[in-house]
Symmetry: C4
Subunit: 496 residues, 4 copies
């Protein structure tokens, strides 16, 4: 690493693919050779070529990323701080202005998750909001994820002592949780708030809630679990990389972390979905960019040139199969496996045949972010009940997507879910009020879920059942077999 | 009680939990010791500490409340009237301004219940409106209560002499009523108008309509029935208190009141629902309060710290059961029991096994105020028809929730209801035009119901039946048994 | 009749129930004694007491009304024309201003019935619009009348020679019509345009379309059919009056009119519906009236004190029955009887047992004006198909309500209707452009219906059938028997 | 052809039906005699009488039209260019202004078909937009065409290697296409952009996509296929003309064009639909026209006097039948026949009996432009599956209508379609960005379809099937037989 003091004017000259320098944390780096290897694409770096890229870079790269990817000699020296202001990127300063324009209200005045989302939208950058908010195509599945819960009615019972109510559950056969509500793996928490994924961890510890760490977290797993007790329950999300060695190295790191109790292999996004809200922020940046490199390069990129979501996706392997991937995984970790992203009873059934390596499955359409018009988890839950209820006995069934109210949580539990994940809500909580905002999210959902359970005359989560809900409207919508003519289908024997 | 003349400036000094004085009806009280015992919470008093609290206090406390709760020595003396204006609470004066801003139109120009609600919203304070209007969570059940009636079609018959039409019904096997429409127990009528619950009683007497007195009425039962003839039919609503002695004392008072013909035990709200409209008015007051005590106290209260609804709820016992509560009740009153708040055929069936102590059940989701996505009474009516129609022979079935039109009343009667309650409408009537406004509500509903009956070719209420309606849309939505696969369920034998 | 010249100032003094004079067509009448006998109520006259009432009176009373109702001596003399302007009613002059504010576009630029309604709304007085537009309660049935057609799909066929298309039909076994579209009896055409019902007749003659003359027409039957050829087909609508003699006299007049081919006995409005748009215009007039007589009279009238609809209704007998009324009718006319307003298969079945006196039935919910949430005619058509299809063989089935497009006409014909009535559309046509506007309505519907038939591959009306439509959405909504549990019901044997 | 130089002032005098001159491409023509023979009607020419009509004429007439229709002596000479500006039509200049008001954004920033339509709406003339956008009556079928796809859910599968995805298909048993997406025959591409249908051809060649040339293309077939390789796949759409010889001549020309691989006989519009958006632009022009000839001519034309759609329609024969038309066609071409516009299973079944002359059928409701409330192609697909699945084995089934997303394409393929047509989208693409805009449309749909296939775990188009979708919502809506009482119908044996 060089010790030279470098003038910003000098840095500014190196603003092309031929010679590309950037400033990060006060140091000047020559990233010309790294350009083609950047998982997020060349484009995004070239826009910051010759500039201080720290504000853009920092919230989406965990610490250690620089060291892992650049050779020591890439560091050319230290930027002369007096000259630095000349090369700050305009987009960055704009975002800053945006970010501080309102003061957040007291979290206690926010009564529900919509309130929190509304505050977060004002607090965080438009780019971060667009990334969190976005979903595939026309947001149909994202919307259905929630409205399907609204179409299920609850059946309150009377004259049952409801003095006590206990939300605790056990997962994976051994881990006691304070809530049946966990934080789904969602990327880039530091876009919302500097506390990042570690802040979510801190909020979870207060409720003894489970957290699944995103493969694309903006902090390292080690940083996230640093302050956790050994009993706190974390999962670690794995997107298998085409470059297997990378995944194996990560698994080795994860195996060493006590609080991480399982690996969550995500299957519902083998290719990136099309998230137009997210992509438009990228397009906007490109359009306003002086260098206009995209235009110059010609063409109309569709695949892999989109928003944050598509950048994060780079390197993920689309060739996973039941036969190859699970055995490979068994070689590299003894942790239980949780499969995330199942959306049909057929796949749930196949997964259940892989117990006990697979201990739980997560029914999820990736928050509506992968394929639009994919079914909500409630549909898949009811498909399993209809075609292969034995799945519930072989593996735990978790669900996520669309949870806005404690009543939604309770309905999922009635349908057979063991626990229920929330993804966007904690991120919006983080954006609205940092750690306290995430706590508020968990507090609201817990209190609402408790009220619902007490009005159903239920003291413990495991007492909840199908007799507590009227899900007839949804029953009339779920998959009815390929024949489609109202015939009840026997289970289609799956090919393994 | 002290006779001293006290200066307002002196009162103003006692504005904390350490020493808390308030002025009520011209007297100064030291309520420091009472603070922790206030059923509505410490908070609400501390906001008025050192001030004249009369306007806040008066419309929500029946007379005698002071005497019941404070020792005589708590009264320190009389406020010096010349100094009083200094300590009037700002919130109060604001509310006053609000309340008088429009002149109400003649009641005869209001053609339907929506007209009346719209006028009331202008006439009453925002806080009162929010309390009446609010319902649980997203108001889904409140809305469904009404729209479910819209989805039922009426089947008019022709060439039937419809010169005469008689709305009278008998309830509880003996009491003749002029209308099958009664006033549901709804709290805090004096928030709408000084005439309060006694005003509602006066309007009911004109139509020989039944009224159920709220457990949280803003007047005493004795005041409410004072001008009633012995034949006028009242019920008294009981929320059983954790401190049983309080409930027993009330029952003793009720047993002595001739016009009260039955006790209505409310079961649909063993814990308070989450009514955000109501809670937001509380939050708004707290936010604007100079003392900002809530902030100081820290934390983010969720349970029991909400709006008027949650204050009223304090002290209610959530541990009632079929086995314990009905026998206890039998010890303290010989009046017939009406159980309010049943929402499943299972509970209706169990209740019917408690005849003849239980003479009627009220199918109700508490106006959508307890649990959102709870079923409307129409669903429960149709569930009973489907699974256990014998219930109709053992007990009377009353319903409430969502009634906006006379056709709604007639549809409920066709489905088997004996009579139909309205809760918010009389309160809005009271707010819009006092006693005359309540009369207008009953007049509109009666006239509309009569027109509907005549167009159906029906002269008497008891002739109405399932052949007068097409409820097929609702049939396709009601509970279909826990299996959920379109199988007709035999009655689930309930556990007692 | 007096010949005196009377000064307006003198007339103006007689403005109370004690002495009530009005000016009509330049003559002064003392109507004090007539006041209690006015079918439309005392109120409406008192508002015009002491004034020139001609503009209010003229468009809603057929000629001869004065002579029939007042004795000759009631005419006191002639108003001094120079003094007349002093006593013109304010409301009238306002209405005039309103009426002339826009110039109507060429009828040929109006492409559909909504265009025509929009123009009419600008051309006619608000009072007239409110009377035509209004329907019962919340306009649910009015709206459903139309949307139910939208939920039926057409099934176009290909490779069928559709060069020719013929809309003609025969009704009542003998009368050939150019169109299967007729003008329903709708009152008060002169409110829309001076051409009135005779103008509608003139437009119908151009298309050889049938017209049913309203019992409450603003012209006499004689005036309406004056220019008709003997072959033009009219029906005359009968509301049986409590004072039977009046109805018998009218029938005697009708029997003498060659072009009137049948009597249409209306059964769907034995009591007036509640039409709030209409009632509000009345309320508005009363409120702005200086004399404010309603206020003075006290009370809050609900029944019979409403808008134009309720005034017209006065005197109608609600006691008609199958047993009494049809034989009475047989005594007073030999014309075939068409029963209007059947809304259930039960009543259609009973009616069919009265063939051949009854030759046709009209399925109608009175344009949604009688009972809100009454079923649309399409429901009743499909009920008959389901429970008692033999009705189609015994009597002709006509329908009205909700027709906006030629495709709606064709769908009704596919379902078994012989012809299809339109009520509001010709009135709006009249309002938009007089006779030419009514022609445009018939022209648009005919052209649209022809296009639809040709695309279905159908040349003649009688070829249309159930295989040309997909009405499955509606089938799932129609009445399913009183048991309601998806059981197919045998026909309920009706009581006669 | 005359060589005289003619002054514009002289031309301007000939502006009536008696003597009608127009300027086209700098030449003056006397079209007086041609007036009654103009397929688009006399009206439209008279509006431009005495003026330079080039801008109006050019984009809707393929080259050669003048020569085909006018005798040489009709050309009177050359317009004096210095005088020309005096007779430019106002409407034209307005349209020009409109057309250039915005600069189109880079096609790569348009993320979906709605983006493209929005840009096109700004770029093209209002008249062109109205012609493309319009559909029959209330646009119900147009809307349903799209929303029916939204009501079908996709069923993503996991753990399937989705590295590869291949969109290629073979049609008509031999032609390999790069995409299962083709360009439907849509008229008047030069209204959108000068590149016209040849531009669409150029875009298609890049993707090896199929294009069907409209019978009413604004360029000749020869021009359109000029730059195509012999392997590029085109169809040519035939509307059979009443004047058979015209159609036969066209077929002879088509038979000589190598790239045209089949004839697409359109059956879904034997009479023109009523497209009010389109008709209103015509009405607007007529109204603003000084000559106001329509008014003068009197009457209220309904049939054939409408917008562009109706002009194009002139001359089409409505008398086609299975028996006469197919044999006639066999005499004039050996190309395979594709029948377009089938909307019932009955017609699909009959068509399948005409294999092998008929090689494919296109299920289409003409983009909702012929008959409103006609069923979407998805309904017809599912009808065929239900009643006569053997059709899929006898002929290829193609569909069009309502495609907005790649997921829509995939759903149609799952239901059994061989390929999927888009009509408006390429025209809007052309309007938004010329050839590049059409490419963008195909690129977006391809990329979206590929993503969907990969998330379904499908590599090749032919693997897609009913088990990949949940179409239960649609199954409940499709035709259920004429009995209508939920009985499954055996196939109605069709009359041939």
């Amino acid at each position: 690493m060089g010790d030279k003091i470098i003038d910003a004017a000098e840095v500014a000259k190196h603003n092309s693919a031929e010679s590309c320098w950037v400033v990060l944390y006060g140091k000047v780096y020559d990233v010309t050779e790294f350009l083609p290897n950047h998982p997020g694409g060349t484009q995004i770096i070239l826009q910051l070529a010759g500039k201080d890229a720290t504000e853009e870079y920092d919230p989406i790269h965990p610490s250690g990323t620089l060291e892992e990817n650049l050779k020591p000699e890439a560091c050319l020296g230290t930027i002369d701080p007096e000259t630095l202001s000349k090369i700050s990127s305009k987009a960055v300063s704009e975002r800053k202005a945006e970010r501080t324009r309102t003061e957040a209200p007291a979290m206690s005045t926010l009564l529900n998750l919509d309130d929190i989302e509304a505050v977060a939208q004002k607090q965080i950058s438009h780019k971060a909001w667009a990334y969190y908010y976005s979903a595939a195509d026309d947001l149909f599945s994202k919307s259905l994820n929630n409205t399907v819960y609204r179409s299920i009615l609850l059946r309150p019972r009377v004259f049952i002592d409801c003095t006590n109510c206990d939300l605790s559950v056990s997962v994976l056969g051994q881990h006691k949780l304070g809530l049946p509500i966990y934080v789904s793996p969602a990327a880039m928490a530091r876009l919302a708030h500097p506390a990042g994924e570690a802040g979510i961890s801190s909020a979870c510890s207060k409720f003894n809630a489970m957290q699944i760490i995103s493969n694309n977290a903006s902090m390292t797993p080690e940083e996230i679990v640093k302050n956790a007790s050994p009993d706190q329950v974390f999962g670690w999300q794995l997107y298998v990389q085409t470059e297997r060695k990378k995944s194996e190295n990560m698994l080795a790191r994860i195996n060493r972390l006590k609080p991480v109790k399982f690996v969550c292999l995500t299957l519902d996004a083998p290719v990136p979905g099309k998230r137009e809200h997210d992509e438009r922020t990228r397009a906007a940046v490109q359009t306003s960019s002086e260098t206009s490199l995209l235009q110059a390069s010609g063409g109309t990129p569709m695949e892999g040139g989109g928003g944050i979501g598509q950048q994060l996706f780079a390197g993920t392997d689309p060739s996973l199969t039941w036969k190859k991937t699970l055995p490979w995984l068994a070689e590299h970790t003894k942790l239980p496996i949780v499969l995330k992203g199942l959306q049909t009873h057929e796949d749930a059934y196949i997964a259940s045949l892989h117990a006990p390596q697979v201990k739980a499955i997560i029914l999820s359409n990736h928050g509506g972010r992968a394929m639009d018009t994919a079914p909500p988890a409630v549909h898949t839950l009811m498909e399993i009940r209809k075609y292969c209820p034995e799945v519930f006995e072989r593996v735990e069934v978790w669900v996520d997507g669309g949870i806005k109210r404690g009543t939604d949580v309770v309905k999922a539990l009635c349908l057979g879910a063991k626990c229920v994940g929330v993804g966007r809500a904690p991120l919006f909580g983080l954006g609205a009020g940092g750690v306290e905002g995430v706590e508020r999210v968990l507090e609201i959902l817990s209190a609402e879920a408790k009220t619902a359970m007490r009005l159903l005359g239920v003291e413990k989560v495991e007492e909840l059942g199908m007799h507590h809900i009227n899900a007839r409207a949804v029953e009339q919508q779920i998959y009815d077999g390929p024949a489609g003519l109202n015939a009840l289908m026997p289970l289609v024997k799956p090919k393994l």
